[in-house]
């Protein structure tokens, strides 16, 4: 099998990532016509009919992270998603698109990532659905001007070059506290976006460059302070937190657009119906 999608689903006490992965696999089949494999520490909880391959791993270690469910509610739960760094070793495919389980595919744009010769593709810019929010932390990972990349979605070929890249990711992960200081991230917890950004910066020769090419299409995102209200096929309806007014929302909708839904609770509520 040459092309496919890989996702990582490690449930925690509050969030059912496997349920999200099943929805993702359905949409991958529909829009990209590709098989999906899932990497999970609980293979016995996975419905095999959704996936091409179920790849078991040990329970990964993670951070505790605050997850919001709209403006008013939040919980602190374990975030076990460092496994994607091992994508190169785990994937059964020659060319692999790795996607977060909370990405809702609504078009076939990402199909084009398999029609290029680029060894590694990732989004440098994603688009917030609101017009009023500015997220400078999604431009640069620190004040030194190192560009931010979204580890939410990336596509790679198995080449000698990408092997170096993924080995570099492991080195950064295994020595996180050191490299977090080197890259002036303060005492921040491990974050996939940051470690990918750091590695791309190194692959670029410690400067701005284009070793990592942009993934096709646009990935939109909503924050965990927003709510996913309805999924109607390729149409999604959101409640977006208003600017400067806590607890109030603006109604908004998308159609045929891929959206990264950070509010996993509202996503799960709709998938559970």
């Amino acid at each position: 099998m040459s092309n496919g999608v890989l996702c990582f689903a490690n449930n925690n006490s509050e969030i059912n990532y496997i349920l999200q992965a099943q929805e993702l696999a359905l949409r991958v089949k529909r829009y990209l016509d590709l098989p999906t494999s899932v990497v999970t520490s609980t293979p016995n909880k996975v419905d095999k009919t959704f996936f091409d391959k179920i790849i078991p791993v040990e329970t990964p270690t993670g951070n505790y992270k605050r997850y919001y469910d709209g403006a008013d509610t939040h919980v602190n739960v374990a975030f076990n998603n460092a496994g994607r760094i091992d994508s190169f070793d785990l994937t059964p495919y020659k060319q692999t698109l790795v996607l977060d389980t909370d990405v809702i595919l609504c078009n076939d744009d990402l199909k084009n990532s398999f029609d290029t010769n680029y060894p590694f593709q990732i989004y440098k810019d994603c688009t917030d659905l609101t017009t009023w929010r500015e997220h400078t932390e999604f431009d640069y990972i620190n004040d030194k001007g190192i560009s931010f990349y979204w580890a939410t979605a990336f596509c790679f070929n198995k080449t000698a070059e990408t092997k170096i890249f993924f080995q570099l990711l492991k080195t950064l992960r295994n020595n996180w506290s050191h490299f977090a200081k080197v890259f002036d991230l303060g005492s921040r917890n491990f974050r996939n976006d940051h470690i990918f950004s750091m590695a791309i910066h190194i692959m670029n020769g410690f400067m701005e460059g284009n070793w990592a090419k942009n993934l096709p299409g646009t990935l939109y995102y909503t924050l965990d302070r927003d709510l996913l209200h309805k999924i109607d096929d390729a149409k999604l309806i959101f409640l977006l937190q208003k600017e400067n007014i806590h607890g109030e929302y603006i109604l908004s909708s998308t159609k045929d657009m891929n959206v990264h839904v950070m509010n996993k609770f509202s996503l799960e509520r709709l998938l559970n119906v």
Binding site: D109, N112, D115, T116, N117, Y118, T127, L129, T130, T131, N210, K213, N214, P216, G217, T218, Y220, K230, K235, I237, L240, K242, I250, L251, S252, S253, T254, D256, M257
Partner: protein, 114 residues
């Protein structure tokens, strides 16, 4: 709540949603303008269309720099022009249609077609 203030707040919600939906439509349009051809990624602009049309008068091949700053050999420039023109037309017409539809809506629910 005072009736005038209530109406103003309702209108404010309508305007905020309208602006958000307009912006989403525009972002969608920009995405629809991206074309993949000859292993390259090209955002179709009026300038690109004019440039390739001008080049096609003297040559059937050219090299274009794509969105990833990669030089791409275009072996059949006429085919490229046909595909790019079609995609540009389709995307722009769709944008026009969606924008017109949005403009006729008079309620927040109508704007997002709940």
């Amino acid at each position: 709540m005072d009736e005038a203030l209530k109406k103003a707040l309702e209108f404010s919600n309508f305007t905020a949603t309208l602006n958000t939906q307009k912006r989403i439509l525009h972002e969608k349009y920009l995405g629809d303008l991206v074309m993949y051809s000859d292993n390259g990624k090209f955002t179709i602009t009026k300038e690109l269309l004019n440039f390739v049309y001008m080049i096609s008068n003297n040559s059937s091949k050219t090299v274009l720099i794509d969105d990833n700053n990669t030089p791409i050999q275009i072996n059949d420039i006429d085919d490229f022009i046909t595909k790019a023109t079609q995609q540009y037309t389709d995307a722009t017409n769709k944008y026009l249609g969606d924008y017109k539809t949005l403009s006729t809506k008079r309620s927040v629910e109508g704007l997002v077609d709940v």
